[in-house]
């Protein structure tokens, strides 16, 4: 964490006992409050009214194809690093109705857009990688020419309370993508968890107002040092990494590398990696009709570049083999996105490694593909 970075935060200190009051502020302001809750042996975003619902001392042990929660003796509420999903499902809904069509008595078709009704929602405990991913999803779904109305309504209702990561999972590699473990930007309020409380600072005008209203004591030098040590520890715990963006572009020179087939042998083409990826945004649409034949709903649902239909044009299937689908995903995510969005589509959260049923590791794949220099192998 740079000195400039710390200076910009100017955090105040909030004793552990004040956290419930801080949560209550959002409810009083009319927000639905979502936070991390242990459910089905993972960390999930759920409505929380009391900080007792938050996971005390819960750490997430993650590996390739493995996710287990462990309770340790510390009293940290944000020691887990992440669950199966970032905040993607709260914005880009996994299944939703886009519009409703009805055949009227006069033969005209009445089309009504169905927009989500959402309450203002404050999310506690958003991670730096989640926020980096959100910025990418915003670029995709909120493009000036064609903003997605469903995404936009949910996005505008969000208030984001980010937390620095004090611990990394074995699958994390955000230091190498530059997206964590300390919060960068994109949050309304930032927090860092220390042994005896929290440092908190505003990240947006509305976040700053709330922080000002709390009248926190400015953080001491010792507290600022602890804040740095916390994220330094998380960074030091990371052993996986991706090379820089210039090197990642060289994946395009490796289209005939033998490693694609090796991954293709192991890959189930199940789409789990794309579903848990906080930046993947592909979907399919289809009608759901009523029996009377007079009305229909246009449905949208998450799709994946690992599905056959996704790689089909009419009856022609573009990517028949799994190796080609994996190649499409990896090269698009890491190289293609740079042209499309100005940066790689990977934020280093490692979910694709954890939630792959057979534990395929994209950092290993990239290392194998880029090993041996630039020449096409």
């Amino acid at each position: 964490m740079s000195a400039q970075h710390i200076a910009a935060r100017r955090p105040g200190f909030m004793e552990r006992e004040r956290l419930q009051g801080f949560l209550d502020v959002f409810r009083l302001l009319g927000y639905r409050t979502l936070g991390p809750v242990v459910e089905e042996e993972t960390i999930q975003w759920r409505e929380v009214d009391t900080i007792d619902a938050l996971p005390t001392g819960v750490h997430a042990r993650q590996g390739a194809g493995e996710y287990h929660l462990e309770v340790q003796s510390d009293n940290r509420l944000f020691a887990w690093n992440h669950g199966p999903q970032a905040i993607k499902p709260l914005l880009f809904s996994a299944e939703e109705t886009l519009w409703h069509e009805r055949l009227m008595a006069d033969g005209q078709v009445d089309i009504k857009q169905t927009l989500p009704e959402v309450k203002p929602t404050a999310i506690f405990g958003v991670r730096a990688c989640d926020l980096a991913a959100l910025a990418l999803q915003d670029r995709h779904f909120l493009s000036q020419q064609n903003p997605d109305p469903h995404y936009r309504i949910r996005r505008e209702a969000l208030f984001l309370i980010g937390v620095d990561c004090a611990f990394s999972a074995a699958t994390c590699f955000c230091t190498s993508t530059g997206d964590g473990p300390s919060l960068g930007e994109g949050f309304d309020i930032g927090m860092a968890e220390l042994d005896d409380g929290y440092l908190a600072w505003g990240g947006s005008a509305k976040g700053g107002e709330i922080i000002d209203g709390l009248s926190l004591e400015p953080a001491t030098e010792a507290q600022l040092n602890s804040m740095i040590q916390e994220t330094d520890r998380a960074a030091a715990q990371q052993h996986r990494f991706l090379p820089g963006e210039t090197e990642l572009k060289q994946l395009y020179d490796k289209l005939n590398h033998g490693h694609w087939d090796e991954v293709g042998e192991r890959c189930l083409s199940c789409g789990n990696c794309t579903a848990v990826c906080p930046t993947c945004f592909c979907y399919s649409t289809g009608y759901q009709r009523t029996l009377d034949g007079r009305s229909a709903e246009m449905k949208r649902q998450w799709d994946s570049c690992f599905s056959q239909t996704h790689s089909s044009m009419g009856q022609f299937m573009l990517r028949r083999e799994t190796a080609l689908r994996y190649r499409q995903w990896l090269t698009h995510k890491l190289a293609g996105w740079q042209e499309q969005f100005g940066r790689s589509g990977c934020v280093g959260c490692g979910r694709c490694i954890t939630w792959c049923p057979v534990g395929i590791d994209l950092t290993q794949a990239v290392a194998a593909l880029l090993d041996g220099g630039l020449a096409d192998v």
């Binding site: 993972t42 199966p84 199940c270 029996l291 034949g293 599905s307 799994t322 057979v358």
Partner: protein
């Protein structure tokens, strides 16, 4: 609208009747159905007219007797559009396990006199005997999928067949992966979706009653299941279970464990 309603028949072949029960379980939409179609044959529900000409036939069950072969030809001839429903009609069903076993030994072990049993040497999918226009999978079939297909057909649209793996459905529904968190031997990555992720949403592993998904990498999944502690035999049994007649699963199972299935197991 005064035009005649399309005619619908529901036929049963070698099966447990569970798919017909799934249709009976539809509740209100079952009562709504006769407003739009004329149900000419559905013996389990009442109408019994198996030889009527119809626009749409739903066929439950596999072909396992000489009589089944004659009947399915007749049904095909009488039906403009034929939908095979459920694991039996689409893959031969649970009873197709007999295709991999020593049939005579089993018959002798089960029946007092096997010469009174008239059966084919195999139980097979409807599509192996007549042209099938649409297959809806599952044991039993998901009745919502059936009504969705009927709703499409009634307005003249070709119904879409689900082919993606169950994992996509779990992720869309926010169901946590039982394999990654609990080491459950889940068949989801190779199984066709359509059930609504029923078993994983209850924390259980999928046992593949919908049969093979569009892409089946059985080798990679078998390796993973073995690393979770399953024996080769146990992995073979997960492929050779309800839809052992589906070629990708039959081949996967037989690669792991050659036939025949022994009677003493």
């Amino acid at each position: 609208m005064n035009r005649t309603k399309p005619k619908l028949a529901i036929h049963k072949f070698s099966s447990c009747d569970g798919c017909q029960l799934a249709l009976l379980n539809l509740g209100e939409s079952l009562l709504e159905l006769p407003k739009y179609v004329d149900i000419t044959h559905f013996a389990e529900a009442g109408p019994n007219n198996p030889n009527a000409k119809v626009d749409i036939a739903l066929v439950e069950g596999s072909i396992s007797t000489p009589d089944d072969i004659e009947r399915i030809k007749q049904v095909r001839e009488n039906s403009a559009y034929l939908i095979a429903i459920g694991a039996c009609a689409t893959t031969g069903g649970l009873q197709a396990l007999a295709n991999l076993a020593d049939r005579d030994a089993w018959m002798a072990a089960v029946y007092a006199r096997s010469d009174t049993i008239e059966t084919l040497s195999s139980s097979t999918a409807i599509s192996e005997h007549v042209k099938v226009d649409l297959e809806l999978h599952g044991c039993p079939v998901n009745s919502q999928q059936v009504t969705a297909a009927l709703a499409d057909l009634l307005v003249g649209v070709k119904p879409v067949s689900e082919r993606q793996p169950l994992c996509m459905e779990c992720k869309r529904k926010g169901v946590v992966c039982t394999m990654v968190t609990k080491g459950e031997p889940c068949m989801g990555p190779v199984t066709r979706t359509g059930c609504g992720a029923l078993c994983p949403s209850l924390g259980r592993a999928c046992y593949s009653c919908y049969g093979p998904a569009e892409t089946v990498n059985d080798g990679a999944l078998a390796q993973r299941l073995q690393s979770l502690g399953l024996t080769t035999e146990a992995v073979a049994r997960r492929f050779l279970f309800i839809t052992s007649g589906a070629p990708p699963f039959r081949d996967a199972g037989l690669r792991l464990r050659p036939p025949p299935l022994e009677t003493d197991e």
